[in-house]
Amino acid sequence: MSFSAVVTPVIPTLAVVIAAVLFTAALLMFGERLQSREVTFRIGSISGLVETKVMWLGVGTALITAVLVGVGLTVGDYPVPASRALATALWDRNGEYDFVINHLRFPRIVVAVLAGMCLAASGFIFQSLINNPLVSPDIIGINAGAAVCAIAILAIGGNVSYVPWAAFVGALLTAGLVYVLSWKRGVEATRIVLVGIGINALLGSVITFIIVRYPIEQVVAAARWQAGTLFGVSWDDARTLAIGLLVLLPLAFVFTVRLRVLQLGDEVATAVGSSIEPDRLALLAVGSLLAALATSVIGPLGFVALIVPQAARMLVGTISGGALLLTSLFGGFFLLGADLVALRLFAPVMLPAGIVTAALGGPYFLFLLARYNRAT
């Protein structure tokens, strides 16, 4: 395969990427200028404190995500005029573009947003619990566990439809194993990290074993999965993610309060009435479920869970329910953007989205980091 053919960029799609980056840069600058105000709301016995900055950022992110969805519906190998694209997606099921829009593009777009939301929310929880910038749900073995099961099936040429289930179960079993092994009168950040290193390495060696000993053609399929991809996702996947998100995100939102207290250290947290181990377990469980869910559908895309919460943290320093939701929205936007680029940048070759999240997310995050560092 000629490298030059692979590398030739497509100008229009590059323009899309640049536009997205500019949009986000604008959002950031706008975000930094936003004054933070706290607004109390009380209805009956329901009350809460809302930070307006977080709220506006959230709205902004939701809006540009919507724009990106529109873009995603329109661009592709079969160019579809924008108005037709939206119409077909939303109500016109019998149009000429129905297949392209409603069976290829729309489900993929929706899955990208939902999976991105799951991963970012999960990353938020893990990074807040374990105060280490290198932490992602990866640390508790989610990716490795999912990968071992998925790759095993793919390498032996088994039934591909089993892969998501196997991945989900594998992810959760591994997370559970890491938790149990780190338990010694309670769970401590350092211990989880170290045990996670061990389990990840162990499973990694199993994966390497598989990669080395099975025929290369099947192994490539496994490698593709391992890079994280949205290829071939369906409305069923979207439905699974939606249901999961609907259950888990509100749970996570409610648990944010406990997270805020745990952040103060074990002693202060206990003094203020937190039962630290059950709270930690609950948070780890929700975080693991979110990550396992996303990973089982699109493969291990750890980078999203690692970088997006960091980026959100630069804008909104403190842990709060609002920050969680904002991070989640960021994740949806980010993964959708990355997937669109993955699809179009090297057209007609489709790269796995995971590679693009890393390749583009990297410099993008660098840009954020540089601005943040200069500002502090």
Binding site: R42, S47, L49, R260, L264, G265, A271, V272, G317, T318
Partner: protein, 272 residues
């Protein structure tokens, strides 16, 4: 018929033995905390003051013995319920990054909050009162980590105040403060105790300040209580020698009337 004092006193420790999974720090110790007063626990480094305080606040579980909160065994009660009655500020608390003052103080309201009621009127009032009482109103929007050591300590105290507990346990609350701020905090605690009837127990390293502000003094050494009682009874040259291994002269503070300990230079020193 004599009723058990345990039922009357807010906090009682009975035959407590406490260790950190190693050698025993506190050995078979019993302690009675009187209500509505300021109790100060003093003693040399490593005597078990902090350990005892943590056990009283259920941060640590004793190896044997019981702690009674208002007559009930502490460890049989739910931790959130306890947090509505007992507040504890440990030594050197770490504030997370990028948290502003009002946010940190707000977290002290945790035991009072319900699932959907995260910012009720009483929450708001308690936080405001706490911030005002500790003189942080101007600084309430600033990140905690940008404040000076003294201000930061006041933020933590504000958090405990916001928790609105009748009993407050404080582990060396004045350690990093300059003298003016030390006095300020102690005066604040005194007024809380006198005006609001709160029970305050604090570990203090400064014996003289302890004698000045506490009405009940407990001197510890090697995991045991050596002496306890009002400052006049506890602070004497003999006790100071026993507990701290220090030769001293004890006089009456000319301003407050409380006992004042003046350490004597070691014998053979040129200052004598």
């Amino acid at each position: 018929m004599q009723l058990e004092p345990e039922l009357f006193l807010p906090l009682v420790g009975v035959d407590l033995t406490i260790s950190y999974s190693g050698p025993k720090i506190v050995n078979d110790l019993s302690i009675d905390i009187p209500a509505g007063e300021i109790t100060a626990i003093v003693g040399p480094n490593g005597c078990g003051k902090s350990t005892l305080l943590k056990a009283l606040g259920r941060i640590l579980t004793p190896d044997s013995g019981r702690v009674l909160l208002n007559g009930e065994d502490l460890h049989l009660r739910r931790t959130k319920a306890i947090a509505r009655e007992v507040g504890l500020l440990p030594q050197n608390p770490q504030s997370p990054e990028a948290v502003i003052v009002s946010d940190l103080v707000r977290r002290g309201r945790y035991p009072h909050q319900r699932l959907f009621s995260q910012w009720s009127k009483s929450d708001e009032e308690a936080v405001k009162k706490a911030i005002d009482t500790t003189g942080l109103t101007e600084a309430s929007d600033r990140p905690v980590n940008e404040l000076s050591g003294g201000q930061r300590q006041r933020v933590w105290i504000a958090m405990i105040l916001a928790q609105e507990t009748p009993i407050m346990l404080l582990d060396e609350p004045t350690t990093h403060l300059d003298l003016a701020h030390q006095i300020e905090i102690l005066e604040l605690l005194k007024s809380l105790s006198e005006e609001q009837g709160r029970t305050v127990i604090m570990v203090l390293h400064d014996l003289n300040l302890a004698a000045r502000y506490a009405s009940n003094l407990i001197a510890m050494r090697n995991g045991e209580i050596k002496v306890s009682g009002p400052p006049e009874d506890v602070v004497s040259a003999g006790t100071i020698r026993d507990v701290f291994g220090l030769e001293s002269l004890v006089i009456k503070d000319p301003v407050t009337g409380s006992p004042l300990c003046i350490p004597l230079p070691p014998s053979g020193s040129s200052t004598l």
